[in-house]
Each structure stands twice: as C-alpha cells, then as structure tokens.
C-alpha cells in the first residue's frame, strides 16, 4: 500500500530538525524508518512532514567519553554490530542488536530510532533499561538528560516531547560484567514473546550487582527488580539463580495477544530469566 502524502525535509543540524518539529505538531522524525515505513504503508499513521535525520552528522557514530559509551541516535544496527567499542564496553548491546529484525533491517534501522519507537516487544529498550542508560534529548529549550527508567512511558510512547529528538545515548561501562540477551520468539523474524536482558557483576566470588530487564511483559520494558534484589549478594549458584528467577514476573502486566497469552509470558519470563542469569553469572 501507499502512504498518505507528506512533505519531506532533510535538515543537516539538530536545531533545524527541532525547529521543524516545533512548528508542526504533525511532523514526525524519520530515523531508519524500519518501523515507521510499514506503519505509513498500512496508513496507521499519516504525518504531515517527515524530518529525515540522515544528514545530521552529529547524530551518527559511537564514541567513549568520561568512561561512558556514547552512541549517536542515528547509528545503524549494522554499525553497532561492527563497532569494537560497543563490543568492549557494552557487549549486551551488541548481543541484542544481532537479533534485531534481519540483515536488511539492521542496515537501515538505527539505535535511536528503535529506542524512540518504544515498542515494548523491541529488543533495545529493555537493554537500555538494564544498562541504566541515559537518553540525551534535544528540543527547542536545549538538551536534557532522561534516565532510561523514565524514558519508556507506555506502549509506543516515550518521555520525548513532540518537538524533541533523541540525540544520543550514554551507556555506563559494563566491561567485565557477565551478560546475556535471552530472546524467545516463535519464528526467526518474529517479535519476542518475551526476552530477558541480564547483567551480572561478580566480585569476591559473589554476585555484587544484578540487572534484569524484560520485554513484552508490560506496555513498556520493565526492570525485574525483585529478581535483581534476590540474586545480588548471593553466591550466584544455580540454586540462587533459580530462586531469584522465580520472581521474574512479579509486578508485570504481560499482554495477551497473538504472540502469547499473559500466563504463558509470565511462565516464560521465569524460565528465560533463569537461563539468562545462568549464562550471565557464569554459573
């Protein structure tokens, strides 16, 4: 199908892009377009203008600054997969990115686009949450920082104002942490029924820190705090992991849809959390 007609603009600075968004509430950002284009083709959305961020140089690329990994919003999944700084400082991102869409989608789709789309079944929002990443947004009033925990508000909804753009994401260094992205989908190409992003830092033989985030267990990605608390401070053996993983669905409100019923998702969350933690904790 053919999208409803729209205007197209390709600014070269964030400020110009923000100005377009500020002037037209029906304008929408085009990042990689891999989620947006199908939506437009099915006429589920009809923006007045697409603001293509492709030419905004400052939004591209990966760097390390102040001990943090900084990923430009327009960095493509393929670029992230091939970036050794990501592999070194946030290997969980690389692991999850390898499961995003398919080859073709990864060539065009962007890190910031995936996060801003805020699909609770998406891979990267849960990963950003697990990593306690910081979202840097730019709007007419300048830059502001939004913790990942506050960024994902609801189904396809972020804390970004309509005239704000996600510019970059700052990711704390997790080199040396154990990690695992445990994704369960019906088919190779399908959305995750549930996926678990897990990080475990061991110190002195025990578990010093645990991060677990889940996809598809609510209208936004959620942290499994009960699991984290239950595992941290233990010796991280299989018994401790199994006990902790049993809390995975606590406080979640998993959806009931064609991809899975709520009770099945709750069950899967526990099983997959156990598997993810087992891998991440090296148990």
């Amino acid at each position: 199908m053919i999208p409803v007609a729209f205007e197209y603009t390709r600014p070269s600075t964030v400020e110009d892009a923000v100005a377009v968004l500020a002037a037209d509430p029906d304008a929408k950002v085009l990042a990689g377009g891999q989620s947006l284009l199908p939506v437009l083709r099915l006429r589920l959305a009809a923006p007045s203008t697409l603001v293509d961020l492709r030419d905004v140089e400052s939004l591209h690329g990966v760097r390390v600054a102040d001990g943090e990994l900084v990923i430009g919003a327009m960095t493509t999944h393929a670029e992230i997969l091939h970036d050794r700084r990501v592999a070194e400082h946030a290997p969980l991102i690389a692991a999850a990115t390898a499961t995003v869409g398919d080859r073709q989608v990864r060539h065009l789709g962007t890190f910031g686009g995936s996060l801003s789309h805020a699909d609770p079944a998406g891979d990267l929002p849960a990963v950003a949450l697990a990593l306690s990443a910081t979202m840097v947004a730019v709007g007419p009033g300048g830059r502001r920082e939004i913790p990942a925990a506050d960024f994902f508000v609801d189904y396809l909804t972020t804390a970004l104002a309509p005239d704000e753009i996600l510019a970059e994401v700052r990711v704390p260094d997790t080199a040396g942490w154990g990690y695992r992205y445990e994704k369960f989908s019906r088919m190779a190409q399908a959305w995750a029924v549930v996926a678990v992003a897990a990080l475990v830092r061991r110190a002195d033989g025990g578990v010093a820190d645990t991060r677990v985030a889940l996809t598809s267990m609510a209208s936004r990605p959620v942290r499994a705090t009960a699991v984290e608390q239950a595992l941290t401070g233990t010796d991280g053996d299989s018994g401790a992991i199994t006990a902790a993983a049993g809390h995975a669905d606590e406080g979640t409100e998993p959806p009931d849809d064609v991809n899975g019923a709520a009770d099945y998702r709750a069950h899967l969350a526990r099983v997959l959390t156990r598997r993810a933690l087992t891998a991440a904790a090296g148990a």
Partner: protein
Amino acid sequence: MSTTQEQEVGAARRRKEDAHLITGQTTWTDNIQLPGTVHAALLRSPMAHARIRVDVSAARDEPGVVAAYSGADLADELAGLPSAWQVTPDWVAPEHKPLAVDEARYAGDAIAVVVADTRAHAVDALDAIEVDYEPLPVVLDMEQAMADGSPLVHTDAGTNVCFRYADTFGDLDAAFADAPVRIRRRFVQQRLVACAMEPRSVLVAPVPAAGEYTVWSSTQIPHFVRLFLAMLSGVPESRIRVIAPDVGGGFGSKLDIYAEELLAFTLAKKLGRPVKWTETRSEAFQATVHGRDQIQDLELAADADGRIRGLRVDLLADMGAYLQLLTPAIPLLGRAMFPGIYKMDAYRFGCVGVFTDKTPTDAYRGAGRPEATFAIERMLDELAAELHVDPLEMRRRNWIGHEEFPYTQIAGLTYDSGNYEAATARATELFDYDGLRAEQARRREEHDPVQLGIGVSTYTEMCGLAPSRWLGERGYAGGGWEAATVRVLPTGKVEAVIGTSPHGQGHVTTFSQLVADTLGVPFDDVEVIHGDTAAAPAGLDTYGSRSLAVGGVAVWRAAQRVLGKAKTLAAHLLEVSEDDLEFSGGNFAVRGTPGAAKSIQEVAFAAFAAHSMPDGMEPTLSADFVLEPDDFSFPHGTHLCAVEVDTETGRVEIRSYVAVDDVGKVVNPMIVEGQVHGGLAQGIAQALHEVARYDADGNLTTGTMVDYTPPTAADLPSFVLDRTETPSTTNPLGVKGVGEAGTIASTPAVVNAVVDALRPFGVVDVPMPCTPENVWRALHEAQGGAA
C-alpha cells in the same frame, strides 16, 4: 541428421524457466505497463457483518479519479461469482457479488471500487467514500453457527448449513459392536493462508471498437478465467484472451475466479481503457481464499491386536462467508482418503459445510487430502499408543501389502500400485529409527528437560484430478481431461503447447524432456507454450497434482502421434514400408540399408514443403491430443520426523526429517525433490507455525507476514529425501503426482512426533499449530495445571 540423444527422462535437467527469473527479466502481471492504464483500488469492509450504505460520490471529485462505484451502483452489471461444484442437490449457494450490495459478510468483503490515473490516487480516494455500517451479529464458530437461533450469515438462506453429506461403506455397526478397542478423537485443522509470494494481480486491456479483451491475471487457471468471464459478462468467449504470465506461486489460492478479475473486466469494458488491480499483502490475507478449517470428529474401532475394524469420520467444514469456485468440494475431496493405506471392514464419512462470517475457504495445497491423511495417521499413532505397539508395527498390521495391488479400498478407490514395505524399510534405515528410539528412552529415563519424539506418517494420496466421469458423478460442472499439441516446425524445432498452466512447477523443463525423448530431438530444441488462451486454447490448467499425470501424458500422446505421422512420411520419402523403418535418436533408418535414413527434422521440412506427401496426409508435422485420464494415480511414502521438545518453553525443534516418497516414474528428479522440499515446508508450517486467527468481532488478527509467521530459512531443517519407484498403472508413463505429497505427509509426521515426545507426561494431543505456547499449555493441562 541429428546425433543420438541421451535419455532425457530421469535426468536432473536444470530448468529452462530459470534464466529470466534469476535476472529479473520477468513478466509478473503487475510489471506490465500499458499506455492509458487506470488503476483500481477496493474499499473493504472493516466489519465482519454489517448492513452497508455506501456513497462514493465524494470520491469521484478526488484528484485523478476516473470512476467510483459502490456495489449497489454496479449491482445490475456485475454477475455473481461462480461456484462450480454442487456437492449435493440441495446445497445452499448464496449469491456472491464481486462488490457487496447491501451487506458485508466478512472483514475484507469488497464494498466499493475507485479507478484513478495512478494507484496512489485510487488508494487516496478510498478515504473519501462514505459508508454507514450498521453492525449485524457475527458468527464465527461452526458449532455455534449450526445451533438454533444462531445469527445467520445469509439471512435469506434461513440456515448457516451449506450442505450435509454422508456415505457409509461396509457394515459400520458390526465393525464397532463389541470392538475391543475404540478410540475417539477430535482434531482441528486450523485455517491457513496460502501466502503465495506474488500477490494477485489482474490487468484487462480492451479494444473497445472490436469488443475484444486481453486479460493478464496471476492465476493458476487462465482457461477457467476466460470461460467464466465470458459466461458472467456476456462477451463472447472468442473475444477474450486470458494470459497467465509469470505467476508467483499459487498453492490452490489462485485456483479461483475472483471478484477483482470480474470487476477489472467489467470496469475495462465500461471505461474503454486498460484497468489494473494489484493486491497488497494485507488485502491478500483477507481477500484471497483461505485453506483447511475443519473440525474432525473421529472414531476408530479395532481388534485387540490393532487390526482396524472400522472408522467413523464426521467433519464440520468452514466455508467462510461465500462459496468460491470449489469451496464446498474441498472437504469432500478428502472423503475417500480417510482410510489412508489401511484395510478395514467399514467406514463412514459425514461432512457438514457451514457458513461463517470469515474469508471464504477453498483449495490449499492438498485440498481435503492433507486433512484426511492427518486424521488417519494421527489415529494410527493413537491406536499404537493405546495398545503399546510401535507405530510402524501398527501400520504394518493394517496396510495393504505390495502383493495386493491393484487394491480397491473401503471407500471404493482402486489404488493402482504401491509398495509401502519398501518405502518404510528405506525410511527407517535412513532415519536410524532404532537409534533414535534408544535415545528417546534414555532422555525419558533421565528426565531430560528436552524430550525426543518420533513421528510416523505413511501416506497415500489421490492425484491426477481427474476422470471427467468421476467428476460429473460428484456434481462438478467441468471435466478433468487435458489437451496438448506438439508440432515440429520447418526448421526442426519443436513446440509443445500444453493446457496446464505452471506457476513455479517447472512444466517447461519436464515436458521438454518428455518430448525430446519421444521425438529424439535435443532438449533445447523444444519450446513449451502455455498460459495463454490464444496460444494454448484448450486446457484445464494446474492443480491437484495433475499436471504430469494428466497433462504430461497428453503431451507424450501428442508427441507419439507426431512420431507416427513422421514415420509414415519418412517411409514415403524413403520409398520403403513403415515396417522397414527403425526410429532411434531422432532418425528413421531403413533396416539393413546403411545410409538410408531421414531425420525427424528433415521429415518436418518435407511435411512443411508438402511437395511429396502420401495420399490423404495433411501437410505440416503437428498433432493434438486430448487425454481423458483412466483413473487417479496414488503416490505414497513414509515420512519419519524426530523432534526435540523443550518441556520448559514448549519449543519444538525438528531434529531430523526423512521422506521416502514413491511417485512412480520420475521425469526430473531435481524438480521432484524441489516439490517435496516445498511441500514439506508447508506441511511443517501447518504442524508448527501457521494459523489464521480471528478475534471475537471477526477481525483477522494474523493478517500480516509478521503475525502469520510463515517459516523462514532459519525455522526449517534440512530434509533427507529418497525415493522408491513403483510405476503407476493408470497411465502409460507410469507417473504419479508430487506437488502435494510433501504437504500431505508431513503435518501428521510432525504432530505425531510432538505428541510422542510428550506422551509420558500424559499428553495425547497438541492442537495445531504446535507453537511453543500450545505445547506448553498441553503439557501444563496434562499435568493438572489450570491453564
């Protein structure tokens, strides 16, 4: 003189079809761009059942719009769509207008059309159409549809029952009375979507002054499209040319006369311009026929040793909202196949066709036979489990022995040939059956969270649709013959004109091999012409694994006729008796006279020049043959599947899959293997992945490729294939069909494997598709969990 040919039949010839397909030099219908073409877009009801009032007038003012019509606007001009198979004298066949006039009966039912200068303008203008929808009660479930007081899909019909059909063979009561073993099961054949990769498309180009029309359509059945467009429009058939150009798969879904074909034709006639319509994938999910959708209630009676005494089959078959070309006949094509390869004393088959507010169903790869094969093969495994007998052994106790062919089975079909023992022996060997059973025992013992299951399917199917008399006796309006013409051109090149209409199968290659062997000409010298009613005017097209067993035999017969004529002419030219001629490698040689010979190419030129012909012989070297098949042929085989089931998540992984098929004589083994691969993929997809699901309001919730989940390369295993070869006795080539065999055999093999893995947990069935969730739920429920 040409040189001696290698034997073509049996060779894995690479396909002639490929050259243009791998380079993008294709002619899909949507590729064709004619000057002045206007584009049609359809407005479809978002509601499953509603009274509609449609006002298109505002759409007519939109940019680029040439015309816009509601169903009411065209009610007098558009005939109802045909259903060609009256399965019972008192069937209910409601009118099915291409555009619904006052009521929409499924989500996706077309209710208005816009024609514009570009596709984008046509789609844009749909938004300007005003529709009042008055919601009507929706009925989606077949059993509810049959209950008293149910909402009616077609109020005028007074019932949701389309037909009731029943047959009994043998003494059923005797078979079931006192039977030591009786097993009852209900299986649900979920609704499926064919998902041919090319969406449907139709382009109609009129020559208004001449009243002539050329129609390009992505169809399996150009000859039927021509026939029905003529019958429905009143335009003489002789002025309609239908072309099926490159067609990107069908699997039964393009074996139909569709609303959009008649609509595009009617609009081209009204507007005097070429009209094109191409389906989007989202439309395809709603508006192209669906497949399967049966509830099967089965009961099997057996002796204590497992010998089958009788089988009772009661089906509910979902027609959807309307009857398409063959809708009611699909479940009945399975009528005689429920007994499978087994002997039994008695058999009853009953089927009720039911209307619901859903997309119409019709043929999907196998069409009635996969459903039947699934039922009997699942029941054999249940019987084996009940009696603690190995499932292969249970089949041996009941199947028809190779020495018993031809064998007339309980439902009256005569199986021409087969050797179930040989195929099964080969399959078990390739599969390492005993080794896998040992591993299964070990995993069970160790309470491995990943359990191993082994599934068996020993299938047969009736292919080669079909003897015309057989069809006529069952209420089908048409016949089952096939036509071919073979002509040797003056230059010695050969044209074979065929009535089948391939859309991926490889007829051009296969039929070239047949003709090359028969006439002793090079494979590359044979051109196969098809899919155009102007070039190949007679034919009944491609479906039902009929193309080789019926169409191929027709081509071979026509080539034989050409050869006979050539021989007579060669004898005349060489001034010898025909009996003195020997034909080999394309040459007619006089026995005992070295050097005295004519090649078939020389004979062809002589027939063209016609300077010296035998008395009464017509010039040119050409012959027709219309083949009426004697009977069906019955391929068979043994498929073995091993699955690993993760009992924690419910995920099923196919560990190994062995298929040993017997499709009779094989013309091109490479093409046969390809057909089996693809068939397996679709059968496995039914077993594990696919379902067309509706919500309570009648919206299709699996209406995209994301939600319907056709398997990708990463979701399928590599298959191990082999063949045994038991020639058919119902045709002179000894060939059987292969297009549907893989699909028919694989679904029960996989589900049997899944259930086998879980039997120790008390699971006796997993509803299809055996998705992780369905498997988990079956396990959970078997273990007393309230799921």
